[in-house]
């Protein structure tokens, strides 16, 4: 079985994000990028399936700062090939990078066709497009997202569980090849000791393919700012009745009642 995993780097929100001088993008001064958490789960699920059914796992990611570390870590975890697509400028949003990566897949020697494409079902910078659906559409494959369990059965059939509200999960059958948007792998992404990552850095190879970005973005960000947040809780005082009413108002205002 051949599995393709699409990863991407997103801003690490552990570091305080700052707005750049243009007022409409992130400052690069202290920005660090980190693998999209759900993509990491997609990789884990791909590795679980590889262990279960043999086959190969290829990881493809758009080039970005720190992506090499992530790709070497993917090799250390058990991926067979790692590829980065170059030629992209960083920016908010997923559409341009995804379209570029999808178009570049055919340039990766011996990659297509694959049986499964796994990627995170969402990322914190998905302002203008979602990776899974965009890739599925471009390759003409079916898509299902928010998946927390996935297995492959003989005869090229996939089975997966998709999350619905309230802890309900929908059980789906998939014709393969298909694109699956992973919410969580069957188990948390595995830890790989740093010694293994260091070994992968010495012995592993990151393949590179050149991408051709499509050009003009369909969405223009005109302003970026930090949402206003209170430093400390706004204390609600008064009689118990008044406080309870105020709490209800707040909840109702957020659509929580």
């Amino acid at each position: 079985m051949k599995t393709l995993v699409l990863l991407k780097m997103v801003p690490d929100v552990v570091e305080e994000l700052e707005v750049a001088g243009d007022g409409a993008s992130l400052s690069r001064d202290f920005l660090r990028l980190i693998i999209n958490e759900r993509d990491e789960n997609a990789l884990e699920q791909a590795l679980i399936l590889k262990e279960r059914h043999q086959g190969t796992v290829t990881v493809v990611a758009p080039d970005a700062p720190e992506v090499d570390d992530v790709l070497y870590t993917a090799l250390a975890r058990g991926a067979d090939r790692v590829v980065k697509v170059t030629g992209l400028e960083e920016g908010v949003g997923s559409a341009e990078a995804t379209v570029t990566v999808a178009a570049a897949l055919s340039s990766v020697a011996g990659l297509l066709p694959v049986d499964l494409i796994l990627t995170g079902c969402q990322a914190i910078d998905d302002l203008d497009g979602l990776v899974g659906p965009l890739v599925a559409h471009q390759l003409g494959l079916p898509y299902v997202g928010i998946v927390t369990g996935l297995d492959v059965h003989p005869g090229g059939m996939g089975r997966c569980l998709r999350e619905y509200p309230g802890g309900v999960r929908g059980s789906f059958e998939l014709d393969l090849p298909a694109v699956v948007g992973i919410q969580g792998a069957e188990k948390p992404p595995r830890y790989v000791p740093i010694a293994k990552v260091r070994a992968a850095m010495t012995s592993g190879t990151i393949e590179t393919v050149a991408g051709s970005p499509p050009g003009a973005l369909p969405l223009r960000v005109v302003e970026m700012k930090k949402p206003e947040v209170a430093e400390r809780a706004e204390m609600i005082a008064g009689g118990l009745d008044d406080i309870a009413s105020r709490v209800c108002e707040i909840l109702a205002g957020r659509g929580l009642l």
């Binding site: 552990v14 570091e15 305080e16 595995r190 830890y191 000791p193 740093i194 010694a195 260091r198």
Partner: protein
């Protein structure tokens, strides 16, 4: 009595260990079983240190490496301290075995995994921003110079370490230490946001690659500056800096805040004017106490505080009871609990409460959250508080 000493073999692997005469000597065990009996989690281990050595000697290496048994080793140094042959189990043999265990472990417990991954990425196990490492300095009340900004050599480079730099109760210790250093007129500085975890717990839990990475980064950072000696609040960091880093070229004297202050008590005494009125019991940390035998230093300090009386717990000094936080235990509470193991800090706090003291004094930043948690669980938090020795000294300082 076994003494802590510099690790002669810095790049230690299990294979390497079993291939060298020095390593094989570690297996020269007489199978007396004292280690198993003294181990706080020995009752729960299939392969206690004694059995583990027996199996390694007979070549059952894969069996030993394929269990998660050794995750229950909280590196309390009790097996080492009591071993009649003085074998370096805690800090040499077991970490080398653990490294192999970790490489084979199908699933690293989530909490430990995130602590290790965070340490690699952010330089601290909590996953806090490295840019906020020196944020506590703002609230120190005294100037805390950052070495890079200072632009000159200092006598003492203070390695604050993670729990003291980030954890709110740890920061109390950092602020107290800063005040004391000022009171003593010590020429000191910290690395600020350049500082990273020293990595001792990563080493002792078997994440050698992580430790190696950290020590390379730290050695490079330290090498940028001129300073006379190193000082740290964290006994684990003390051990790494004193006994492991030297083999890699770092050869500066290292001190822990407790012995550092104890050695300067005469200068400090006139400033200790505030009557505390506490009944204090002191917990010997495994590393500072059992491993380094620094039992008198903290007690001398506490004795010098006005209005303080000291009471001892049943298990003290080399016989101290482990808080369970060492060697990765800090991030394995859930793992132990899921297996039904008792929390070692509960045992310790029960004993502390039995003394009738109102302060449980400690010298290790791991112990504050562990004992405060246990006090809450055991319902003793209305009777007893946990304080680092440095916090108590700072409290007794004149304003």
């Amino acid at each position: 009595m076994a003494q802590a000493s510099v690790l002669e073999i810095p790049d230690l692997t299990l294979d390497g260990l079993l291939a060298t005469p020095a390593g094989r000597e570690l297996l020269s065990c007489i199978q007396c079983g004292t280690c198993a009996g003294t181990c706080p989690y020995g009752d729960f281990m299939r392969y206690t240190p004694r059995r583990l050595i027996g199996m390694l000697r007979e070549g059952f290496i894969e069996e030993v490496l394929s269990t998660d048994d050794l995750l229950t080793c909280v590196t309390c140094y009790d097996c080492w301290a009591k071993c009649p042959r003085g074998l370096r189990l805690t800090d040499v043999l077991l970490p080398a075995v653990k490294e192999q265990v970790l490489l084979r472990l199908p699933e690293v417990p989530a909490e430990l995994q995130s602590a290790l991954a965070n340490t690699m990425r952010y330089g601290n196990p909590m996953g806090e921003s490295p840019r906020k490492r020196a944020a506590w300095v703002e609230s120190a009340g005294v100037p805390v110079p950052i070495l890079r900004d200072l632009g000159r050599p200092v006598d003492v480079l203070w390695i604050v370490e993670c729990y003291t730099a980030y954890y709110p109760r740890g920061q109390d210790n950092a602020r107290a230490t800063a005040r004391i250093l000022h009171a003593l007129g010590v020429d000191f500085a910290i690395l600020g946001n350049e500082e990273k975890c020293v990595g001792e717990c990563a080493r002792l839990v078997g994440e050698k690659g992580l430790f190696d990475t950290l020590r390379e980064q730290n050695a490079a950072t330290y090498a940028k500056y001129e300073f006379g000696s190193l000082l740290t609040c964290d006994p684990h960091a003390f051990d790494a800096l004193a006994y492991v880093y030297p083999a890699l070229g770092l050869s500066r004297p290292v001190d822990h805040t407790t012995p550092f202050v104890a050695a300067r008590l005469d200068a400090l005494r006139p400033l200790l004017t505030k009557d505390l009125g506490y009944k204090i019991t002191y917990h010997d940390s495994c590393v500072l106490g059992r491993h380094n035998h620094m039992h008198d230093e903290p007690r001398r300090i506490l004795d010098a505080l006005p209005g303080v009386s000291l009471v001892e717990m049943t298990h003290n000094r080399d016989n101290t009871i482990c808080c369970g936080g060492g060697g990765g235990g800090m991030w394995l509470d859930t793992f132990y609990k899921a297996k039904g193991y008792p929390r070692l800090s509960d045992r310790r706090v029960e004993e502390a409460l039995a003394t009738g003291a109102d302060v449980l004094a400690v010298s290790c930043p791991y112990e504050v959250p562990r004992f405060e948690d246990s006090l809450k669980v055991l319902g003793g938090d209305d009777r007893m508080v946990v304080r680092d020795v440095m916090e108590l000294v700072a409290e007794a300082l004149a304003d």
